[in-house]
């Protein structure tokens, strides 16, 4: 059934909320706020009852695929299970209802959590200095680039160039451009890995930062990463590790150990912050000690008194690049990451990555007959299949396959990324899915491989809508409701 828009449900005079009468002495509004500041008329907003609102949004929710309801093997997104206890603990009054300007002495519990989170993220990264401030991975990238710039400025070096492989997430170049750097993209090599020789040809004394995702977006570990990092360091640059794929290597290898100088985490991917249909995320960064003083503030510091008593406080690093946002950070998401890390411990965390890799390789193996993977013998936590066979032989595109999967009750993989693979289907099962689910997913894909192409071009067939005309919507976007849009 179609779900009307809120605005179409509105009936003048309906109300969902009631508010207390004012308990302070009555004053005319003019005495409070001069009339020139006040609105003459109320905004035209919908008028609804409480149960209108509830039924509307509950029904809307059922039109989503989600991790709680479906297998969601969206490559590069790490759609793992979000533990329910995290939601309830983060909502505890003592955490959820704490004002950001509450005094430090009245926020010691929160500050302890955030301090311990800094410490744990530093250890997992092998990069000891952490700032929790960035609101998302992309902001983490931007932040780290500013840190790098501040570092070079302090050293009197003018370095303007940021280099990244063509398989990089789009946010890498976008962040570099936003910060004011020049972007240099490396060509894709046939094995899907960065070619050190090609890289070498781009290095000079204007090289500021090399940004690399490792394992990369093909799900392959960059074997030459240590050599690559050495080359960057020799050129006087810094190595940035995009942590989007940390779910593959937790406790197995560390960015700081394979040459990274800076990295960001996606707490909402690796450490189970729920994705919320597009956020909030949290993108803390970890850097080497020599970069610590440039981190954005505030960070949390721990003081131990002579009697052994401990207090926590906020501090700005001495040469801080400044704030990246107001208040401390996306604390609600950091909390979920903290709960997760405290639940898993070292062994549990390593087991996460081992099982993520096992699941990915198992699924890769099951699909290789119909959706072969051009690069690599094995994969880490995800792999990129090519639908080229299907396209060439039957005219069935990666998009057709992705859409048809929805009819089978599976969310689609990421398609057409990275660009280096033709008809790419980027599949990340995560460790929180079962062999039975992977088997069923494989069966669905095999079934699709022999279904009528015409039918597949029209898929999906069981979802509320099918194949929106995105081109028309891009040409003539309709971004707000007006009464003439009634369905």
């Amino acid at each position: 059934l179609a779900t009307k828009l809120l605005f179409e449900l509105s009936v003048p005079g309906r109300r969902a909320t009631q508010w207390p009468d004012s308990d302070v002495p009555e004053q005319s509004l003019d005495e409070l706020i001069p009339s020139q500041f006040r609105a003459e008329s109320a905004p035209s907003m919908p008028e609804l009852t409480e149960s209108d609102v509830v039924r509307h949004f509950v029904n809307l929710s059922t039109k989503n695929f989600s991790v709680d309801t479906h297998f969601y093997p969206l490559g590069s997104c790490t759609m793992k299970y979000n533990p329910k206890r995290h939601e309830r603990l983060a909502a505890l009054d003592g955490l959820g209802n704490l004002h950001p300007y509450q005094r430090e002495e009245d926020s010691q519990g929160m500050l302890q959590i955030l301090y311990e989170m800094q410490e744990m993220l530093g250890e997992i990264a092998g990069l000891p200095a952490v700032s929790l401030q960035p609101a998302a991975g992309a902001q983490g990238e931007f932040t780290a680039l500013l840190v790098a710039a501040a570092y070079f400025r302090d050293r009197g070096e003018k370095r303007t160039k940021v280099i990244f492989p063509s398989s990089a997430h789009g946010t890498n170049p976008a962040s570099a451009a936003l910060a004011g750097f020049d972007c240099v993209q490396l060509q894709a090599s046939s094995n899907g890995l960065v070619d050190p020789d090609d890289l070498q040809s781009h290095l000079d004394d204007s090289t500021a930062v090399f940004m690399i995702t490792n394992p990369n977006t093909l799900g392959l570990f960059e074997r030459d990463i240590a050599r690559i990092a050495g080359m960057i360091h020799d050129a006087g640059g810094l190595v940035y590790i995009d942590g989007a794929n940390m779910n593959a290597i937790l406790g197995i290898t560390r960015p700081g150990d394979f040459g990274g100088d800076m990295m960001h985490y996606n707490v909402h991917k690796t450490f189970t912050g729920p994705h919320g249909a597009g956020g909030p995320g949290a993108g803390p960064i970890a850097v080497r000690s020599f970069l610590e003083d440039y981190l954005p503030g505030p960070v949390v510091r721990k003081d131990t008194a002579e009697d052994g008593s401990v207090t926590y406080r906020l501090a700005d690093p001495p040469n801080s690049i400044g704030r990246m946002r107001s208040f401390f950070g996306n604390v609600g998401i950091l909390l979920r990451g903290y709960f997760y890390l405290r639940t898993l411990g070292a062994d549990g965390l390593r087991a996460v990555s081992e099982n993520a890799v096992l699941n990915a390789n198992y699924l890769r193996e099951k699909l290789k007959d119909i959706l072969p993977v051009p690069q690599g013998e094995r994969c880490m936590h995800e792999f990129v299949s090519s639908g080229k066979l299907q396209k060439d032989e039957r005219g069935v595109t990666a998009m057709d396959i992705a859409k048809r999967l929805l009819d089978y009750g599976f969310h689609a993989p990421t398609v057409y990324f990275p660009l280096v693979v033709a008809e790419a289907l980027m599949i990340e099962p995560t460790e929180t899915e079962s062999k039975e689910t992977l088997d069923a997913f494989s069966e669905a894909l095999h079934a699709i491989a022999s279904e009528d192409p015409e039918m597949l071009h029209q898929a999906p067939h069981s979802t509320p809508v099918s194949r929106p005309d995105e081109v028309a919507a891009g040409r003539k976007p309709l971004l707000t409701w007006t009464p003439c849009l009634n369905d």
């Binding site: 828009l5 004012s22 005495e31 609105a39 905004p43 609804l48 949004f57 695929f65 759609m79 206890r85 009054d93 209802n97 704490l98 004002h99 950001p100 300007y101 509450q102 005094r103 009245d106 519990g109 929160m110 609101a135 501040a150 997430h169 946010t171 170049p173 240590a226 406790g251 150990d257 729920p274 919320g276 249909a277 909030p280 954005p296 208040f327 604390v331 609600g332 405290r342 411990g345 070292a346 062994d347 549990g348 965390l349 087991a351 081992e354 890799v357 096992l358 390789n361 094995r378 460790e431 062999k435 979802t463 809508v465 099918s466 929106p468 005309d469 919507a473 971004l479 707000t480 849009l485």
Partner: protein, 450 residues
């Protein structure tokens, strides 16, 4: 515990299917020399029961807006959150979904974001809204960047000194490497000095950034300020408190070009500063310059109305370094909360909340300034928040309040960028609809002889 599915037996089966002997074999891509040769040094794992006890213990060490009477402000406010907001936002179908790239699998979120955009436009009087940004501070910077793109002026942004100090700090950080100069206009009696503003605006200026009500709670002459910006071809960017729009004139009627806001007051919990909700809305002619996600109404292959992510050609996955912004996520779950909140309150509820907050704030100001040595710092009209000047020592004053169970603040002294004369003796007091006259009277009595 680790939420894993694979039992030892299944692991064996899966390894056999892959054709390797162990998980170690799968990791052989990682050179031995780069492997961590020890366990991570992390605290021991906790069971759910232990985690809950641990977290409850830590949570209990924080003093919150429920445990003490909360008059804290400065951009985050203790407004009431109707239970329906929590009920909807805690549905797994919303909070465990990803960015709605696959429209067919995401109509729930997409429609909600479309409704969010519309509600924001209705509330602000603007034409188009995006589907949210990180929070209020970065929203100001994104608006400034957007203004640079629109005006093609990249050298100068003028910002009032009455804008939230942290928002201004972010703007400085964001533009640090760029050739853009950020010009701050000192505050005059808690508001903008229009002559000074006029002096600083020139034909190189991309935009003028104003906050309404400003950081001190006072009201600015947004219409006049916008006019001044327009006179030099700059855009008018205004950061608003969305609750204030239950009473105050909509920016769309005041000549504003880009409205931004911290959306926290719209049903989002305080949670120590985030995640919050960045709002950005603008006039329709700038639609293709908007940063961040945006949802468009569309038609599916059967002619059915539906919703899709729109204008994606502006974004990083297509334009990479030419993208309008590096923002990839929006704050989907918080945009949903704000959507539910606005749906519940409507114009009438927002007006009630705004008016209650305003009335109580004025009552509180009256009561507190009746005390010896306590006065309003600024002689300006204000909305729900005001700065007290406490000659006898503002810290002792807030300490006395705290002792008696009242949190007021923040102290202005913690913001370096505020003028020292204001900073040293000033404290913010915010009053929402949740505070009762009894609480205000008790606060007054508690600080009477501090």
């Amino acid at each position: 515990m680790s939420y894993l599915f694979n039992t030892p037996q299944q692991t064996e089966e899966m390894l056999a299917a892959i054709g390797v002997g162990s998980v170690e074999d799968l990791l052989e891509q990682i050179p031995e020399s780069l492997r961590l040769d020890r366990k991570l040094d992390l605290p021991a794992p906790k069971s759910e029961l232990e985690l809950e006890q641990h977290v409850r213990d830590l949570a209990g060490r924080n003093v919150t807006a429920s445990s003490r009477s909360c008059f804290l402000g400065g951009g985050a406010y203790d407004h009431f959150v109707p239970s329906v907001v929590d009920e909807i936002a805690s549905r797994g179908e919303f909070y465990t979904a990803y960015t709605p790239y696959q429209a067919e699998a995401s109509q729930g979120s997409l429609q909600a974001f479309f409704e969010f955009q519309t509600l924001i436009c209705q509330l602000t009087g603007m034409d188009v809204s995006n589907a949210s940004l990180y929070e209020g501070g970065t929203a100001v910077s994104e608006a400034a960047f957007m203004a640079m793109r629109v005006t093609n002026r990249h050298q100068r942004v003028v910002v009032l000194g009455t804008v939230h100090p942290e928002f201004r700090q972010v703007l400085h950080t964001y533009t640090d490497l760029l050739p853009c100069e950020i010009v701050e206009i000192p505050c005059q009696d808690g508001g903008a000095d229009l002559n000074l503003v006029k002096e600083q605006l020139d034909e190189k200026t991309a935009c003028l950034v104003v906050q309404q009500p400003n950081f001190f709670g006072c009201l600015e002459d947004v219409r006049e300020l916008s006019e001044l910006a327009h006179q030099v071809g700059a855009l008018s960017v205004v950061s608003v408190d969305p609750i204030s729009l239950g009473m105050l004139e909509r920016p769309g009627n005041l000549g504003v070009d880009i409205v931004v806001a911290e959306g926290q007051p719209l049903g989002i919990p305080l949670q120590y500063g985030g995640p919050y909700l960045g709002i950005l809305a603008c006039r329709k002619e700038y639609v293709r310059k908007i940063p961040g996600r945006i949802v468009s109404l569309a038609t599916d292959r059967n002619g059915k109305r539906c919703f899709v992510l729109g204008l994606q050609t502006r974004e990083q996955h297509i334009r990479r370094e030419k993208a309008t912004s590096n923002i990839c996520t929006n704050q989907g779950l918080l945009a949903l909360r704000a959507t539910v909140y606005m749906s519940l309150l409507g114009a009438d509820g927002l007006n009630r909340v705004a008016e209650l907050s305003c009335r109580k704030a004025h009552y509180a100001a009256e009561q507190l300034t009746a005390l010896d040595g306590v006065e309003l710092m600024f002689p300006q009209p204000f909305f729900k928040e005001f700065v007290l000047r406490v000659e006898k020592g503002v810290e002792r004053f807030t300490d006395a309040a705290r002792e008696a169970g009242f949190d007021i603040g923040p102290l202005l002294r913690q913001f370096d960028s505020i003028d020292p004369s204001v900073r040293s003796q000033g404290v913010l007091v915010a009053v929402t609809e949740c505070r009762s006259r009894d609480e205000i009277d008790a606060l007054r009595d508690a600080v009477r002889d501090f």
